[in-house]
Symmetry: C2
Subunit: 305 residues, 2 copies
């Protein structure tokens, strides 16, 4: 089934202990769409860029079969972000954020996108996220990302959004902030009471916890030999997750778990290179092999006691 992503396309300047890049292709919609396209037959992007956005980046995305009918070009400059990671590869220090054309982003779906079965609302103002939902006709699954900025600044609007989506991607700190609960599990259940059917709690290098009404799924991260650049790990996870579900066209406990695995594996490739280098060079067989290896290194039998 076709998949819709609304998010940012950006030019990132990133430094890590392994090197640096300047004005490299980035943004949530970029990472998401390249990750998702490894699985989903049709990935449709809604985003905005400025007149300075290099044509080679557009060509790269088009060349991967990603639909850019919803990519607006506006007068002005493209969204830029600059950040530095230290040796822990934890949260980066932001050196510069220039929203530019992204500041006035008002996502408008091309007519051809309105029938998308799977919808992912990247981390933008919940008011805009709701506007996107209202433009899609009877989707199978709507998922959203959010962040502390919106939880603290637009809580009411975010709560309205939660009534309109099926699945929320969130980190542990945000679960506690949104629910007011110290316990992660209790907090997650409180958010499920606000309507979403599933919460996918991202814990970076420590894995993922999915909480649904029917149960729990705990998955460690795939152990990486050498992290190069963590930028886009969360967005490529989301892309792998949604892309897999869109490819299968079905949403049930088994497929949701597999989607978490798909997201984890795709994200593990992403952090092995700067920008989209590694994410765009892997093949279906690389992904398959890593999924199989992941199964092997996490498998156990119940202890006999």
């Amino acid at each position: 089934m076709s998949l819709l992503i609304v998010g940012s396309v950006a030019l990132d300047s990133v430094a890590t202990p392994k090197g640096k890049v300047e004005d490299a292709l980035g943004g949530s919609a970029t990472y998401f769409s390249i990750a998702a396209k490894h699985f989903a037959p049709e990935v449709n992007v809604v985003a905005v860029i400025g007149e300075d956005f290099p044509k080679r980046h557009v060509d790269l995305l088009l060349g991967r079969g990603i639909n850019l009918d919803g990519l607006e070009i506006k007068p002005g400059k493209t969204f830029r972000w600059a950040g530095v990671y230290d040796e822990s590869f934890g949260d980066p220090e932001t050196l510069d954020t220039q929203l530019n054309v992204f500041e006035q982003f008002a996502p408008c779906l091309p007519e051809s996108y309105c029938g998308c079965g799977f919808v992912f609302l990247g981390n933008i103002d919940p008011t805009l996220q709701r506007q996107v939902v209202s433009q899609v006709k009877s989707p199978v699954l709507v998922a959203a990302d959010t962040m502390n900025f919106w939880i603290e600044g637009k809580l009411d609007e975010l709560k309205e959004l939660l009534k309109e989506i099926d699945l929320l991607l969130i980190n542990a700190m945000e679960v506690r902030l949104l629910s007011g609960e110290k316990s992660l599990l209790k907090g997650a259940r409180k958010i499920l009471d606000m309507r979403p059917k599933a919460l996918v709690i991202k814990r970076g290098e420590f894995g993922t916890l999915m909480v649904t009404r029917d149960g729990l799924f705990a998955l460690p991260a795939y152990p990486i030999e050498e992290v190069i650049d963590p930028t886009g790990a969360g967005d490529s996870f989301a892309g792998g997750f949604m892309g897999y579900l869109a490819m299968r066209g079905a949403v049930n406990e088994t497929e949701l778990k597999r989607a978490v695995v798909a997201g984890t594996v795709i994200a593990s490739f992403n952090v092995e290179g700067f920008s989209i280098e590694r994410l765009s060079s892997i093949k279906r067989d690389d992904i398959r092999a890593r999924m199989k290896h992941f199964r092997e290194i996490t498998e156990f039998t119940v202890p006999e006691i």
Copy 2:
């Protein structure tokens, strides 16, 4: 097979957002032995206490069938620790440490302990850990815990110890410190080159990574509804891990993985109560049920792509 633990027995004063206890039973050998005794038929403790140590604590350990022939009573006071956990339940703030009789601890094994098949060297001076190893006759498995204090202060002695043990329990920060490698996996392999056959890397609420010459095993933590007191989580993990292996009497990849599961499950109970409250009230059936549940919430099938 019989299991030997050398470590501390202490009186802990702990405050967490869920309450507090004063002079409660604690120490690595305490948590370890109670955890291990859920599995191992024979658990032998080597530790030291002062004359002020309450008889009821000794009776509790003896009542659980733990062998205290190696528990020395020395003139002076028992090791005391006081700490506070904040709402993140991360590393505690230490308010007070009084080593007391533990300062002069020179572990001496009763003759009856020298034939133990499984040996765990709690986190003490590596010189003392080596003295213990030298007193044990042909053990099946010797495992050790350590910490940054010894890596930084007694590196040569610790490296000698590594040549004499089979398995090291360590956290991610310590792997990096001991190996000088930023990458966890590379660092772990470098430590395996120093002789141990396996490294069990504890990541607290984020699970465990075991690295052996033959492979990897990644396990998330068991998701807890409500953490009460994290004190002793690492020691009860170690006790469950070693106790399970001693019960099975065999060390192979399958049993090592199951031992990590056993340690994780036992540690998950431990943090649900202050001191040893929860750890000492659970039954074999509680452990079995949680192991089974743990399997269910971590199981997945490889995505079909």
